[in-house]
């Protein structure tokens, strides 16, 4: 997938555990883990808003677009 999830990087910068973030944004740790590992197909704006609010970051800090090798 061309969208790269940088959640683990932002969590490390903020020195926050995934479980703590899961509790704060009211998403299960399983789903958040799937998000971190890019195992999801879509993210709701409400979830993205909650993550950005708790991590005090921008959506662009968590989501990165990288052109696929094939498309290059």
């Amino acid at each position: 997938m061309a969208i790269i999830i940088r959640l683990d990087r932002v969590l490390a910068d903020r020195k926050m555990q995934l479980s703590e973030l899961a509790e704060r944004v009211d998403v299960t740790i399983v789903n958040l883990s799937k998000l971190k590992n890019a195992k999801v197909k879509a993210i709701r704006f409400s979830t993205l808003e909650a993550i950005c609010r708790e991590l005090k970051c921008q959506p662009g800090d968590i989501l990165e677009y990288q052109l696929d090798e094939e498309e290059k």
């Binding site: 998000l35 197909k41 993210i43 979830t47």
Partner: protein
Amino acid sequence: MNEEKKLSKIKKIASATHKVLQIILWILVIASGLLILAEVVVYTLSDQYFIVKDLYNGFMNIKVEGWFTYDLVGEVGQEISFKSLALMTIPGVLLSVLFYIINIQQIKKILRSIMDDKAFDIKNAKCLSIMGINFLSASILFQLAGNIFGAELFKLIGIDAGSISFLPDFSLLFTGVLLLILSSVFKYGNYLQEEYDETV
């Protein structure tokens, strides 16, 4: 919260229905076993046990689907062995029992998935397909069995029955088609459910 209450109510109804169907299923399974046993017994018994004397005191009438009644005047049903009819009847009843067993099994699986919050599981689509095919088969087989039975009865009592109709039972046929359509709807529902589940 209102939706949760509705869902909870649906699950309770599903649970109660599941239990009732379980009981009915066991009764049908026992009945099918007894029917097989009865077929064996009828087969082994001598014809003399199936001879009917003075059946209708000299006349018999045949009703067709409640549309008309045909009166047979004269001595019928005397000294005729109805063993062949008995041998045909039991498999016919067994066929309808199997029809219900298959349907109840599939409905139980669907109810179980509803109780487990998996209403749009792909297995439910398969259950509906099985039920649809079951109904389609029954629409042909039940009619055929009835016609063959009717032809044998007429042969026994000496009536020239004419021809056997091969038209299916349209109510079962349309129900089968509807179930197959529903199966496709559930497959799409499963796809939407997966999309929803994979959205964070």
